[in-house]
């Protein structure tokens, strides 16, 4: 029930933000279409932790801004590699342990690794990721452990 209400509010906020209409007739149509979408999602059993991730902590927003800084730093590092005369690449496939308990936590951690240039998550098995790194500096296991800790903090209430 909480998930249905959450999805309804999120859908209507999106509708309002994208349409920009505030006439009563159109607002009614918007509410009705959002209600119909929630009804369909409920019939399709989509109202779970994956579609409506209300279990994530609000700290996710802080995590995203931290991640933005990390992305910028590693983009700078990759740019230096690309522009170097002799590109100092040393490609490696490394195993990174992940300690998150929920599937959503795994997804956030794996996507964060992929989002930072220089590292890409290639394969996931329970408890471990296979990560491709462009340089020795990118393949920094302490860095991954730090990121994993931050993900574990925001993954569930």
């Amino acid at each position: 029930m909480t998930k249905a209400v959450g999805l309804l509010i999120a859908l209507f906020a999106l509708w309002l933000g994208l349409s920009g209409y505030f006439k009563p007739f159109l607002l009614t149509l918007g509410v009705l279409s959002c209600l119909f979408t929630v009804y369909l999602a409920r019939r399709m059993n989509l109202l779970d932790d994956e579609a409506v991730p209300l279990q994530l902590r609000p700290g996710l927003l802080l995590y995203w801004s931290w991640l933005g800084g990390e992305v910028f730093k590693s983009a700078w590092a990759v740019s230096k590699v690309i522009l170097a005369r002799e590109m100092p690449i040393s490609q490696q496939l490394i195993a990174v342990p992940c300690s998150q308990k929920t599937e959503m936590g795994h997804v956030i951690f794996a996507n964060s690794i992929t989002l930072t240039p220089g590292t890409v998550t290639v394969e996931t098995v329970p408890g471990k990721f296979l990560v491709h790194a462009l340089t020795d500096e990118a393949a920094n296991l302490e860095g991954f452990a730090d990121m994993g800790r931050r993900v574990t903090e925001v993954e569930a209430r």
Partner: protein, 124 residues
């Protein structure tokens, strides 16, 4: 501050964002040509679709000011932030499953993750 100064500051801020974003886009495109194989080129593409694209969007947000357009640009940025790693992972995973391995691989721990089946040599 009077409106003219604010507009000047906004123009300067968006100019900086466009310039830095454009430089990262260029470096990413350069890397796509220069790096040796599909695995390393993925990282150049990563520079383009994270920092490059987001900085261009931030520059456009400064130009749009407080309006609905800024909200839509922020939504585009959010969706890009969430979907681009998914696409990158799909390419990397497809290359891995197809048996393509990075050139001059320094360290390979793929056996630890998915078992011994990963040790087959890459046949070009």
């Amino acid at each position: 501050m009077d409106p003219v100064t604010i507009e000047l500051l906004l123009n300067i801020a968006s100019g900086i964002a466009f310039t830095v974003g454009g430089v990262f886009l260029l470096i990413g495109a350069f890397g796509l040509v220069r790096l040796p194989d599909v695995w390393s080129r993925l990282h150049a593409a990563g520079v383009v679709d994270t920092v490059g694209a987001e900085l261009i969007l931030v520059g456009m947000m400064f130009q749009a000011g407080f309006s609905q357009t800024t909200l839509k640009l922020a939504l585009i940025g959010l969706f890009l932030f969430v979907t681009s790693p998914t696409a990158t992972h799909a390419v990397a995973n497809a290359a891995f499953v197809a048996g393509i391995r990075p050139v001059r691989l320094r360290r390979n721990e793929s056996g630890e993750v998915i078992g011994e089946s990963s040790h087959k040599e890459f046949q070009p």
